[in-house]
């Protein structure tokens, strides 16, 4: 439980820093990042509390899929946000 809480703190701490330096340019921007954080936590909970994977290959494939899906979602969400420094220079 301590390890899980530590991961939550690190994840949302980093997310807070990111959101502080950005400004949403669409409705999905700000809330999307936070929702994304909770989705990642749900995946983490599954890893923590559900039965282990059926084989080493299954574990590797599952990990690969999540790494690339998370990176893809991050790429999309980033487009919904703009750095505050850029936002202020354009206004």
């Amino acid at each position: 439980v301590f390890a899980f809480l530590l991961e939550v703190a690190i994840l949302f701490g980093g997310m807070y820093l990111y959101l502080k330096t950005t400004q949403s340019i669409s409705r999905t921007g700000r809330f999307g990042i936070v929702i994304f954080g909770f989705v990642m936590l749900m995946v983490q909970s599954t890893v923590f509390f559900h039965p282990p994977p059926s084989s080493d290959k299954a574990a590797a494939i599952t990990a690969l899929v999540f790494y690339f899906v998370f990176a893809g979602v991050a790429c999309w969400l980033e487009k919904q946000l703009i750095a505050r420094s850029r936002a202020s220079s354009t206004t």
Partner: protein, 140 residues
Amino acid sequence: MFVGHYGPSFAVKAARASIPLWVVFIAVQLIDVLWAIFVLLGIEKVRIVPGFTATNPLDLYYMPYTHSLIGATVWAIAAGIVYYLFRKVDGWSAAAIVGAAVFLSLGARLACASPRFAVVRQFPQGWSGTLEFPGVCLSA
């Protein structure tokens, strides 16, 4: 350790906005991405042992090319060079940050590794036994 790696990704992005978020997402997991590929190819070994640690059933008993100090150093340098080649406009400092994200994620893995986890021990014969860095399992 899984989503905790992404916290530093957001922090890096906050500090250096020019680096794409997806790049730091991959960078902090690059060692595990390579590990998964190597496991699928049979180069590195893992076995499923329910209850192996409090949080993880994976007995990562052979992964010298990804989860080792020298291995991580090589991948970190490679990641920095690749980043620089594709985004020269960001300069070497951004490439160094990407490389550091790759390397430092190994330290984060140590923090919740099994006490049996040894970074350098896992190198092929010749390297083994000279240096060991037992991990501190937070969940133990």
